[in-house]
Symmetry: C2
Subunit: 664 residues, 2 copies
């Protein structure tokens, strides 16, 4: 600090003493029993949305209605469901139905299950979700990731080739336990775990998954017959380029024509919102068109891969196939847990994303229960693990779905298909469905968001990259895990190394602001005023002690040396440090290690002849320090003349004390 500045200080000191106001004492917090505290803490933790609020003061009849609506969201949006809604739901429903069939088949193959199980899984679960689910865009069905994990985990112990029936039973059993896991997570109000999927994580996850899913569509787009079952980018690319012999020009031609058409349609709709129907109708249109082409040209004989013949009939019951005992119980529970949590992650992530796009709210806990119950019911009707599907929801959203009715439409379509229409889809070429999926997911790569994250927060950008590359090169679950881990690590670091600010007075006022932010703020001679910006606990108590000591050393370095220049003498001058004032307004919690910090600090300061002053400690802090005092004799921290409500008052009071010392 330069001499001029010091001049200011002197004036500022006068100012303070002039505009010093009458002192208000720090009141002890209102008495609350440990039980009350625990209760409110638990409420904040598990019921922050206060779901029962709407019931307060309602007539009991109304209460019942509300309860029903809470349990079955369909009762909320059902009543004011309009024809226009229905139209768009039918369109989108048919579109995703046209996806559901090939996806169901291929994903069931991924899980080493019979293809038809994939179709079954697109019939029952959507109906359940339509009743229980609170998202309007999510289209449920089997998903690639869950299918992969289920298949690989089970086949580690049972060979699907040797013992298909047992394998099928284990598949259904795992589905049951997956559902159980999901439902109980929701029931135990642990929905807040989804908050740990930050925006950055999701942007990266979506982009990565989009790329993986589109790459996997190369199978159908290039007409490759032998394709990897892994998700990673490398195996996919290798099986693309090691199978060049299998590429069929007819397929490629057809595929990229339709892909071009679809992309153009999407582009048009994005430019001209009025023309949304172009992109909404195009997928279904191209399915029908391509089917006709194939049928007309007998193209299936010219290397174009079609869905082909499928047996007919509805879901048979499968509750008699569930394993609740026996040697494989451990296996199915483990598999259920993993697939359950991972498919839940995808389902919730998808649900949240589209909810954010249309700015409506998805209740994490209810959503988890919906997905869970859906899978429990599914497991007893020959369905395997289903959740909010990434690609399908994208298509659903693009096709302009309005409510969960699109799921019903899909389900009905699938049912009709299962019963009658199989022959019609016989000639639908897989390549077109591939093109539809690619078009859908490409729209989920959000470059603007990525740029915004880069500009706002570099670390979040790192997190985004981590989840992106994790998903692409390793696996979806690991990608997410790394991203979430990084985010948590950063939080812990913020806690371990909290901000401490040196406050200075703005001359002529009672304001104390960050000395290093506000240029017109000046430090008050004789005082070191620090604001601690985090709860004090075991993780940061050591750091804080050292940091405060460092601030003191800095103060001495500044003032003493330069006081020498001014007067040449030191001891007990006005500028030598008399008080360290800690602004505790932001210390929202304190643990035993934190309490010890204050004792140590007090002791350390006394050695240097400096007093420790607290400003505006919150209730909990006061309580804990009092309890600590009450039995530990010795230096008292909460002495009346060492605790103030505002910094201004503390400074006003104590600077007069300093002046007294000076006189003597």
């Amino acid at each position: 600090m330069d001499p001029i500045n010091n001049g200011e200080e002197e004036t500022s000191k006068k100012e303070i003493s002039r505009c010093s106001i009458d002192v208000h004492k720090v009141a002890p917090p209102p008495q609350r029993s440990s039980f009350e505290k625990l209760k409110s803490r638990l409420k904040e933790t598990f019921f922050p949305d206060d779901p029962l609020r709407q019931f307060k003061g309602q007539p009991s009849k109304r209460k019942w209605i509300l309860a029903a609506q809470y349990a079955f969201p369909i009762l909320q949006w059902g009543p004011n469901y309009s024809l226009s809604h229905f139209k768009s739901d039918v369109v989108s429903g048919l579109t995703i139905a046209s996806l559901a069939i090939p996806q169901g088949i291929s994903y069931a193959k991924l899980a080493n299950l019979p293809p038809i199980v994939g179709l079954y899984s697109s019939f029952v679960p959507p109906l359940v979700y339509a009743v229980l689910g609170s998202s309007r865009d999510v289209a449920v069905g089997p998903v690639s990731i869950a299918s992969l994990i289920l298949g690989s985990m089970l086949s580690q112990q049972v060979s699907p080739a040797k013992d298909p029936l047992l394998f099928l039973q284990l598949g259904f059993s795992s589905t049951f336990f997956a559902g159980l896991t999901q439902a109980s997570l929701g029931f135990l109000r642990l929905g807040f775990i989804i908050d740990y999927l930050s925006e950055a994580t999701l942007v990266g996850f979506m982009a990565g998954a989009a790329i993986i899913v589109s790459l996997q569509q190369l199978k159908s787009l290039l007409g490759i017959t032998h394709f990897t079952k892994q998700m990673g980018i490398l195996p996919v690319l290798s099986s693309v380029f090691h199978r060049t012999t299998e590429w069929s020009w007819q397929t490629i031609l057809m595929g990229f024509c339709f892909l071009a058409v679809l992309l153009v349609a999407r582009h048009v709709s994005m430019k001209r919102p009025k023309l949304f129907w172009v992109s909404a109708g195009m997928p279904l249109a191209s399915v029908i068109l391509s089917t006709i082409i194939v049928f007309a040209l007998k193209a299936q004989n010219h290397g174009i891969d079609v869905i082909g013949k499928l047996e007919e009939g509805l879901n048979p019951p499968s509750w008699n196939m569930l394993h609740f005992r026996g040697e494989y119980l451990g296996l199915v529970i483990k598999t259920g847990l993993v697939t359950g949590i991972i498919s839940l992650t995808e389902g919730i992530a998808v649900g949240r994303t589209f909810a954010a796009l249309k700015s409506y709210r998805v209740d994490g806990n209810k959503e988890m229960m919906a997905i869970g119950i859906m899978n429990i019911i599914g497991s007893s009707t020959s369905c395997y693990v289903t959740t909010g599907s990434f690609s399908r929801s994208a298509v659903n959203h693009n096709a302009g779905a309005k409510t969960a009715v699109s799921n019903v439409v899909m389900s009905v379509t699938v049912m009709v298909t299962l019963l009658l229409l199989m022959p019609l889809f016989r000639f639908t070429p897989n390549v077109v469905l591939g093109a539809i999926i690619v078009t859908a997911v490409l729209g989920l790569i959000d470059l603007p968001a990525a740029r915004r994250i880069w500009r706002i927060d570099k670390f979040d950008f790192l997190v985004m990259l981590a989840s992106f590359f994790g998903v692409i090169f390793v696996s979806v679950q690991l990608g997410l895990a790394i991203a979430v881990g990084m985010s948590i690590f950063r939080m812990l670091l913020q806690m371990t190394r909290p901000t401490t600010m040196v406050l200075g007075n703005i001359p002529g006022t009672n304001l104390y602001t960050n000395l290093h932010h506000y240029k017109d703020a000046v430090s008050v001679p004789g005082f070191l005023i620090l604001s601690i910006q985090a709860p004090i606990n075991f993780a940061n108590a050591n750091y804080l002690k050292e940091r405060i000591m460092r601030w003191m050393a800095d103060y001495e370095a500044d003032h003493i040396t330069h006081h020498h220049q001014l007067q040449g003498i030191k001891q007990h001058s006005t500028t030598s440090l008399h008080y360290v004032i800690l602004d505790m307004s932001c210390v929202s919690a304190l643990d035993t290690t934190g309490v010890t910090l204050f004792k140590d600090l007090k002791k350390a300061l006394e050695c240097k002849g400096v007093e420790l002053v607290l400003v505006n400690p919150i209730g909990e802090v006061i309580e804990k320090l009092e309890r600590a005092e009450s039995e530990a004799a010795g230096s008292i921290i909460l002495r009346a003349d060492l605790v103030y409500l505002t910094t201004a008052e503390a400074v006003a009071q104590l600077s007069s004390a300093i002046n007294l010392k000076m006189m003597m």
Copy 2:
């Protein structure tokens, strides 16, 4: 709120407008490049103690001395080492030496290594530590926990009985990698991981370990020959009571006599600090006395277990025995990692505890490097994993050790023993050494601390119990892991559910304090003033939005209803909510999800015709919001008339705005 209260509000409003002060605008933070920010962040994270500070502005010669002192703490305390120090160091050194021999033997047995290796490990490492270590009380040597883990992990793949030489080589190799792990943790300045051992965790850990160690001494105290090698309380007790046939009354008699003497001595010294030498000298005295008794009475022939004959000679070199390749590399690295970290945990925990008792400072990073280098050197001189020993340091401390010289004395004694004195210790009964250990560790069960923790913080008490019972019933490492995990979970919860306070004005002042803490504070009609007490990020953004909405609903519920009583009309009355003021003083960080929160909140409030006002946002928050604004068009959050430096100014300005509205 009751009418009277409302009356107060009206008055308070006048008050405010009267004592409203001139407005200070929120300044943009000083410009700093991302690199500068990163640099200071890294410094705070890894060099909070600012180790280079002492070098600043020193002559280069002095710098060299300081550097040397920093690297070799012995140079700090060496120069002013006095004779009195030496006396007490000799006493304590001899005492722990008398422990080092039987402990070395028994722990080496635990690790399935030849007994003599245990003695070697008490010779070289202490010398290294004396030079590098920064604790004055820690006595280094083999420890039970590390020995157990080393032995069990290695014997999973190699049989010590079948292939003793290979096993020995793997033992030394694991020791090398353990040292490498420890040294690199220190070198990478990751010492702050020890901060995560909170006071509560340590109190529980120490008590638990003390009980386990003492129970294990029942082997020697009861003269049991076949004893479990496990640490858990249950196996120990079972082997105590299933071996009653092996109990020898002579041993028990002798043991409990000496135990009584030692406890009395310790009690005396605690009551009369002047008589410290009673407890300090007693262990050595009893070793000598008991040896003489045994020798005189030929007691070894009457069921009293003695150390017995040991071969003579110093540590042979063992660097040629280290495995850096081959099939066992993975095994030794894994074993080294686990034993390294766990023994480090014990060493640092012990070091910290005694440093706290004598209130001096132990630099975690330096300590880790010291222990690490000690083990690396040890691994090439026929020593296995060593660290600050729990029981030995306790004895060392009780015997009044002043500096690390006691380690040197111990080491020299062990050397002399290895060379010449083996015969003398031949008749020392293990029972007495057991008694000494028990006496030492019992002093580490800190019941007052436990009571204090219970009174100050219930959750910390839970943590303490977790680590206590974890150590007793499961294992030391798991006990610690659970305790640390709980503490971290609590931190995350604090972050996920941050405190939000409703602020009210103290009539006649510019002060705004917690409405639910300060009874004389009243809410300002038309305003909802909230203080957010944590960084805003992905983990709490959702919660905060919901919580703020709830506060608003509460406000409406209070004011509107009761305004109806007063005037019967509602819309745009003074009491209906016009502004939500967020006091941002405590929001020390913001991530992209946090930025999104403000946009959502702004939108949500505008729907209700309420404005969002920010008070005293810190530099980082301002920057990030600005960046977000700059490209996202639409509702601006940082509008000049919606950001203030103090709540008082905001209220003063905005209430006039409300009055204007009223007029129209």
